[in-house]
Every structure is written in structure tokens, then in C-alpha cells.
């Protein structure tokens, strides 16, 4: 199961030949916690979210062990790292780093509170982080390997494996995935799932729920001989043999300990509504209870962890409410660099179709880069500061690298956050994500006095058409009402600097359709015109 999700999602991000059906990609990504939660904020309650919460409430953090690709990645790293060690690493029980973990959860929730949900979730969501790593690092690597094979193949006369141009993210947008990859890899290689239990807000959040899980791990004191086999197989350093307890809030639900225990002392037990107390019952107490045959439970000291969890959860709830009230004016607006002496407007960032508006997009997108990976023309790339700081690594269309294919709507089909809403092809073809602007003085036809019309040639809606100009030449002309901002004209324009550019619309509009009568045959008749 874990491998299905890990391999499936990794392939979704790396797949540079467009083999993965978008339906599968969307379904796999839909079973990710943060995207499903964000989807809820857009008013859609997905079955997957209900499923994931119920599963956690039933069995603990199964999400972390099976569904989360970053989690499974860490297991793989840990396993490989162990191969290189003379002796398997023994991770003893460790106290929880509660300040840190609730701190990160708190930061995330405060982020949501001040209306920067898209930013804080984007930074810390494990799925989105894995997506960025896979999309901007694993994918180019896969392409480079493919190209090596293609070079050999082509020289031997086979063209089935072809070269793919690696679509590198801008270097600045590569930094964060690289840093995250290093942090996660090093932590996983040396401390198992430490990342999941200190930094990951989803781990901490689900851990909070796991403390109330109906079924939890329990060590049967009479059967346990403290052989520590369970500890050797535990990824999360959450089995406290001295206390005879499992910290279920940090247990990632791999259940390896159950298999490891040959005396069946480690068991998954129905606990009902009893909440876990870590520093409550001690091994000695249990023994004493057994010896005395007493039913009395020892005094329950105050639980700082539960307190912290409740505090941050409450902050989050207040935050979610607050975020609805925070005026949009507080949000970061990108600064526009002036574009010199042309009549062209300053370039304005273009977000993908289905985004509806830039503000909505920035709020809901967690920048997992699934749309970037799935885009057949690679026109979508992670932004650096084009959207402002809040839009770091969020997808934007870069028309200097490519343009949006008229007949394609894959990005809108895969988005798990609801940041890009699904569009029918007919709707997508009319969704105006930007508008083209022409500066005639920069145009080849005006400047060189020769025909060009590369822009009009590529325009799928004929928003850019050509009109007769001096000396029998044809000059491009833009009808903004027909333009959907696909960027084909800007990409194709051979002038330097570009004579035609597309500026993004902060709210996506709807273009008009140019209705024309059926064309007539210029050489009607039964004979050849020559």
C-alpha cells in the first residue's frame, strides 16, 4: 500500500512522457492530508479527508506510514543507510521534542490565522515538499538518464526513446527543495522518523488525534521480556520499555513492532475513549497494581503535551475564523519592474487556468508542483518572487519557455487542493488568464519591413490576426476580447525585445468567441485554375 502511493506519486511527478493518466494522478494526490484539508476550505469535503481522519481516529497515524510520500521516502533512506552501517542503527526511546513540534504546528496554524495559509502550508506540508523535491530534482535526474539512453538508442537507429528537454526550475526556486531534501535525508538516515515527529505539522496534528485513537499499541507487561526487538524495528523512537508504554502520538503506525515481538506482548488494543497519558501509569505501578490486585488508578499528573496540542489547535481554529476576516489588502502584492521605454505594460504574473483569481490561487495552492510536472509544454514553472514572497514556488506560466497548449487542460485535472478548478475543454478554451499587448514599434514588420506574423500564426483564437499594412505586408493586430492569454504569441515572437507580451489577469475572465461563416472556395468550379 505504502509503495503504491509512493511509487504512484513519484511517477506522477517524474513522468516526463505523459504516461500517467491524469485521473490516477488526481486520485493519488487526493489522498494527501493537507491538499484534502485545503480542498475543504474551498467548500469541498472529500471522501479521502473523512477517510484519513477516521483512519487516524481508529488506528493512529496510518497516513504517515503508508500515504505520505515524504514519510515513505524517509523509510527508504533509513533502510539504505542501514545497509552501509556495519551494525543496524539502534534508535532508543527518546523524549518527544514537544516545544519544537507544537511550535511548527503553531507556526503553521498562525500562518493560516493571519491569512497566509497558502504560504505556511506550502512550506511545511510533507506531500507538497515531496512533490517539489520529486518534481524539481528527481524529474530532471530521470530526464538526464533518459537522454543518456536516448543518445545511445538514436546512434543505434532506434527512436523509441527520445530526448526530453529537462525543465529545470529557476535556480532560486530550486533552493528550498534542495535544503528540504538534505534535511529530511540526513534526519532519516540518522534518526528515523524524527522529521515527522519534530518538524512536520501534519505528523503533529495527526499525532494529536492519535492520542484519542480507538485502537492503540499496548505492551502487555506480563508477556514482555524487554528484549527490545520492538525498539530495533521502531522508526519513531516512541517505545518506552522502561515505562512499558508506547507514545502513540509519535507512532507513525508502521506496526513493525508487532511483527518483531515474538512473544505477542506488543498488541494493538481497543482502548475506547480513554486518552493516552504518557507520564501517567508507570511500569512499576502496573506491577504494583497486579500484585495488590487493586483497581485504583494512580493520580494523573497534568499533561503538558495535551495542553500544548489543545493550545495550538485552538489557535488554529481562531486563526481559520480570523483568516476570513483579515482584509485582503494585507496580502503581499508583487512589485512590477518597469519595462523601459516601450508602450507595453509591465509584465504581470500569469497563473494557470482554473485558478479563478490570483488571490484565491495564492490562498489555496500548496505548491506541490503536480501541475508543473503534468504540463506537456512545460510552460508552468515554480515562481520565485513574481507573486511576492507569499507566492514562493507557486506555479506560474513563463512564456519565454513555452506556451499553454490550446487543446490541453491537464493542470486543472490534477490539482488536489482545489487551487485549480477542473474545467471542461470548452470552458478552458474561453478562460482568459491574461491579455496580449502589442508594441508596433518593436514588431519585425514595422522595424524590418518584412513579413513575420509568427504571433498570429500561433494564435488559436485569432485574437492576434493580421491586417494589410504598407507595401503588401501584413501587420499583427490584437483583439483583447478574444484573447485567452495562452502566451503562444509572446513565445513565438522573434523580435528582441518581444513586441508582443501577455500580462496576467488578477481575476480570470471569459473571452468572446469569434464567430465566422463557413469559408468559401476561392476557386469555385469544376476545372483546375491553371
Amino acid at each position: 500500500m505504502a509503495l503504491v502511493f509512493f511509487v504512484g506519486l513519484t511517477l506522477s511527478f517524474v513522468d516526463f512522457r505523459g504516461w500517467m493518466p491524469t485521473g490516477w494522478v488526481h486520485a493519488l494526490a487526493g489522498w494527501q492530508f493537507v491538499p484534502a484539508a485545503v480542498l475543504l476550505s474551498t467548500g469541498v469535503l472529500s471522501l479521502a479527508l473523512v477517510g484519513m481522519v477516521l483512519l487516524t481516529f481508529l488506528l493512529g497515524r496510518v497516513y504517515c506510514s503508508t500515504l505520505c510520500p515524504l514519510g515513505v521516502y524517509q523509510d527508504i533512506v533509513a533502510r539504505i543507510a542501514d545497509r552501509f552501517r556495519p551494525k543496524k542503527l539502534l534508535l532508543r526511546f527518546a523524549q518527544p521534542h514537544s516545544r519544537i513540534r507544537y511550535g511548527f504546528l503553531g507556526i503553521t496554524l498562525v500562518g493560516i490565522a493571519v491569512g497566509a495559509a497558502g504560504f505556511s502550508l506550502a512550506l511545511l506540508d510533507p506531500y507538497s515538499n515531496y512533490g517539489r523535491i520529486a518534481s524539481s530534482l528527481f524529474r530532471p535526474l530521470g530526464i538526464l538518464i533518459n537522454n543518456g539512453v536516448a543518445t545511445v538508442g538514436n546512434s543505434m537507429g532506434t527512436y523509441a526513446i527520445y530526448h526530453v528537454t529537462p525543465s529545470w526550475a529557476p535556480w532560486a526556486a530550486l533552493l528550498l527543495p534542495i535544503i528540504m531534501l538534505l534535511i529530511v535525508t540526513v534526519m532519516a538516515a540518522t534518526r528515523g522518523r524524527l522529521y515527522c515527529n519534530t518538524i512536520c505539522p501534519v505528523g503533529t496534528f495527526l499525532g494529536g488525534i492519535a492520542r484519542f485513537s480507538l485502537f492503540r499499541l499496548e505492551i502487555k507487561p506480563t508477556d514482555c521480556h524487554k528484549c527490545a526487538a520492538c525498539i530495533r524495528h521502531c522508526k519513531a523512537q516512541c517505545i518506552d520499555l522502561r515505562a512499558g508504554q508506547v507514545d502513540f502520538s509519535r507512532c507513525v503506525g508502521c506496526m513493525n513492532c508487532i511483527d518483531a515481538c515474538d512473544r505477542q506482548a506488543m498488541r494493538l488494543v481497543f482502548k475506547g475513549t480513554k486518552v493516552q497519558r504518557h507520564k501517567g501509569t508507570k511500569w512499576a505501578d502496573v506491577r504494583r497494581q497486579k500484585e495488590e490486585g487493586s483497581n485504583a488508578t494512580p493520580a494523573q499528573p497534568a499533561n503538558p503535551q495535551r495542553r500544548a496540542f489543545l493550545t495550538s489547535s485552538t489557535t488554529g481554529l481562531i486563526g481559520l475564523t480570523g483568516s476570513l476576516l483579515v482584509p485582503k489588502a494585507l496580502r503581499a502584492e508583487p512589485t512590477n519592474p518597469s519595462s523601459g521605454s516601450t508602450t507595453l505594460p509591465a509584465s504581470e504574473v500569469v497563473c494557470p487556468p482554473g485558478a479563478v483569481s490570483k488571490v484565491r490561487f495564492l490562498d489555496t495552492c500548496t505548491s506541490c508542483q503536480l501541475c508543473i510536472s503534468i504540463c506537456p509544454t512545460h510552460v508552468i514553472e515554480p515562481a520565485f518572487l513574481e507573486y511576492g514572497v507569499q507566492g514562493l514556488m507557486k506555479p506560474r506560466l513563463n512564456f519565454s519557455r513555452s506556451f499553454c497548449n490550446f487543446e490541453c487542460k491537464r493542470c486543472t485535472e490534477v490539482c488536489p487542493d482545489g487551487a485549480l478548478l477542473p474545467l471542461t475543454l470548452a470552458d478552458k478554451k474561453l478562460t482568459s488568464i491574461g491579455v496580449a499587448h502589442l508594441d508596433q514599434s518593436l514588431c519585425i514588420v514595422e522595424k524590418n519591413g518584412t513579413d513575420c506574423a509568427a504571433c498570429s500564426e500561433h494564435c488559436p483564437t485569432k485574437a492576434v490576426d493580421t491586417i494589410p499594412f504598407r507595401d503588401g505586408l501584413f501587420l499583427p493586430k490584437v483583439d483583447e476580447s478574444l484573447c485567452i492569454g495562452c502566451g503562444a504569441c509572446e513565445y513565438a515572437c522573434p523580435a528582441k525585445p518581444k513586441a508582443i507580451i501577455v500580462t496576467g489577469s488578477s481575476t480570470h475572465g471569459r473571452a468572446r468567441i469569434k464567430v465566422e461563416q463557413k469559408a468559401v472556395n476561392p476557386t469555385e468550379g469544376d476545372d483546375f485554375p491553371f
Binding site: T165, N405, T450, S456, D465, P494, A519, P529
Partner: protein, 322 residues
């Protein structure tokens, strides 16, 4: 101990030298083989137009695409005139756009498929197809229907948007396009067949045979920056196709070259075939209601002596299938 250090080194060096020698010999062998076939191309494919006083144009109308193509090829003496046994063939259709066949922005798959079949019947060793597409190439190949038709007929589709396959060539005598990067299949093939679709073009007025060859080069922006029509004509100095087939079954007569939809298309049920690329384009211009000299790249090419646009002095075979 069987081998001492000295013997080991001696043997190692000997083996290494042999491998290096064999490898370089193989490379050299390949190179000479390539240039040999390259030189033989004109001899193997006598240009019908060049030898005769008049260029030949075959124009067919009122049949289905496959029938018209077959009749045209019969009139030219069969595909065997162009393709000899064991030769490699490159067919360059227009497959530039991610649209369906009925929108007529690409050469119709029936024509491509039948051309491939005829080439194999004539004994071609392999038939390859590519276009440097404007839209995403995988989508354009697939949705144009060309990928399926060509594969079914046994041809190999090659990525036309792979920059590493384009190599720089000098074009002596060119006015503007003095050098350009050309797809290696154009350089290597024994027989080069040009199979465009006839369309309106917003910048070049018309796109047919000559304009289609722009898709053999990497840097189309250069064309646009440096007098589009002149560059289109200049390319012919580098290479002229042995055979040109114009798909004018349902030409796009406005909003070209991409078109907006089927309403831009008119039914003409015509196919042109010629060994002279300028003749084919001159006739194509007439089909769209233009005088040949009104299409600047046609008149430039004619003036440069790369072919003839004087349809009055050309042997035209007109075939009506009805």
C-alpha cells in the same frame, strides 16, 4: 603466479590499443559510408524536372485522397522512379499543430500513410517521418492522426523538437539564410519527400511546399527576423525534395496556418504532385486564388532559378476522377 607485472602491463596495453583501433576504425567506416550515400543521392534520384526542358506537374481532383495520390504517382511513373530498393526515405509532412485531421492544419494522415506504403512497395529499407512542430510535438503527432497512420504503415516517427538532432550547415549562394541548423534526417536520408498541406498563412500569405521545409530547421525565429520569404527560398539551395505532394483536399483558406476550426476549411478535393517544388507552389497559389508571383517566396525562388513559376510553359497532366 602466472603473469608477472610486466607481462600484465604489456597484455593490457595491447588489448587497449586493439580496442581503440577497432573503435576508431568503426567510426571512420561509418563516416565514409555516410558521405558515400550522401554523394550518391543525386545519381540515384534523377530529378525529372532538371533533365527535361519542362517541369512536370500532375494535378488530380475529385477523388479520395488515397486514389488521387495513387493516380498522381502512376502519372509520374510510380514511386519506383524515386525510391530504389534498400534506400532510406524521409517524408516531411506538416504535422505542426495539435489539431484533428478535419481542421486541416496538418497533412492528412491518409496521404502520409499511403506515401509510406508506396515507399515500402518500391523497396525502401526504412521510412522516417518528423516535423519540427509548433505545438507540443507528441500531441501534434498523435492528434494529427499522422502518428497512427505512419506507424501502421511501418514508418518510424522521429522527435522533430530535439535540438541535438539539428546540425549546422552552410548554404552557399543564399541571400539571407547563409547557414542554418538542419535535422539530421534531412542530411542523411537517401530520398527526401515533401508532403505539405495547402493552407492560408497570416504571415507568408500561403503555406505549401516551400514553407513546409521551414520545419526541417531548428531556428525558425531567424527566418522571421531576416526576411521570411527570402529565407524560405534560400533553403532550397541547401536541399530540394525529390518529390512534392500537396494535400489540397480541404485547404484552410483563412486564419492560417493554425486555423480556428472546420469553418476555415473548404472542400477542393485536389492533390498536386511535382518534382519541381516551385511549380508545385505556383499551382498551389492558384488554387487559393493568388497569382504565383503574389506569393513572394515563390517569385523569389523562381527568380533565383530554383524552379519555375511559369505554369504556361510547364507540362501539366490534369486528371479528373469522377
Amino acid at each position: 603466479m602466472n603473469i608477472d607485472r610486466r607481462k600484465f602491463l604489456q597484455k593490457g596495453l595491447a588489448v587497449g590499443a586493439t580496442v581503440t583501433f577497432l573503435a576508431s576504425a568503426k567510426l571512420l567506416g561509418e563516416d565514409t559510408a555516410k558521405s558515400a550515400t550522401g554523394d550518391k543521392v543525386p545519381a540515384k534520384n534523377p530529378d525529372l524536372g532538371a533533365g527535361d526542358k519542362k517541369s512536370v506537374l500532375v494535378a488530380v481532383r475529385d477523388g479520395d485522397r488515397v486514389t488521387m495520390l495513387n493516380r498522381a504517382m502512376d502519372a509520374l511513373g510510380g514511386m519506383g522512379v524515386f525510391v530504389k530498393k534498400g534506400q532510406t526515405v524521409l517524408i516531411k509532412p506538416n504535422a505542426g499543430w495539435d489539431v484533428t485531421p478535419e481542421c486541416a492544419a496538418n497533412t492528412h494522415p491518409d496521404i502520409v500513410g499511403q506515401l509510406v506504403k508506396l515507399c515500402f512497395l518500391a523497396g525502401a529499407k526504412e521510412v522516417k517521418i518528423f516535423d519540427h512542430t509548433c505545438d507540443n510535438w507528441q500531441r501534434a503527432y498523435a492528434n494529427s492522426g499522422i502518428e497512427k497512420a505512419a506507424r501502421d504503415a511501418g514508418a518510424t516517427l522521429v522527435n522533430g523538437n530535439d535540438e541535438s538532432m539539428y546540425h549546422e550547415v552552410e548554404i552557399p549562394g543564399a541571400v539571407k539564410l547563409k547557414k542554418t541548423r538542419v535535422h539530421e534526417l534531412v542530411m542523411k536520408c537517401d530520398v527526401f519527400i515533401n508532403a505539405p498541406v495547402l493552407k492560408h498563412h497570416g504571415g507568408a500569405t500561403m503555406t505549401s511546399c516551400m514553407k513546409n521545409l521551414m520545419g526541417c530547421t531548428w531556428d525558425r525565429g531567424f527566418y522571421h527576423q531576416n526576411d521570411l520569404h527570402q529565407c524560405i527560398a534560400d533553403f532550397l539551395l541547401y536541399k530540394k525534395p525529390a518529390l512534392n505532394i500537396v494535400d489540397a483536399y480541404h485547404p484552410m483558406v483563412r486564419n492560417g496556418p493554425r486555423g480556428k476550426g472546420v469553418e476555415d476549411v473548404v472542400e477542393m478535393k485536389t492533390l498536386l504532385a511535382s518534382t519541381d517544388i516551385v511549380v508545385a507552389d505556383a499551382a498551389a497559389a492558384k488554387l487559393l486564388g493568388h497569382k504565383p508571383e503574389a506569393i513572394r517566396h515563390v517569385s523569389i525562388a523562381s527568380a533565383m532559378g530554383l524552379g519555375s513559376m511559369d505554369l504556361e510553359n510547364i507540362a501539366i497532366q490534369r486528371i479528373k476522377i469522377a
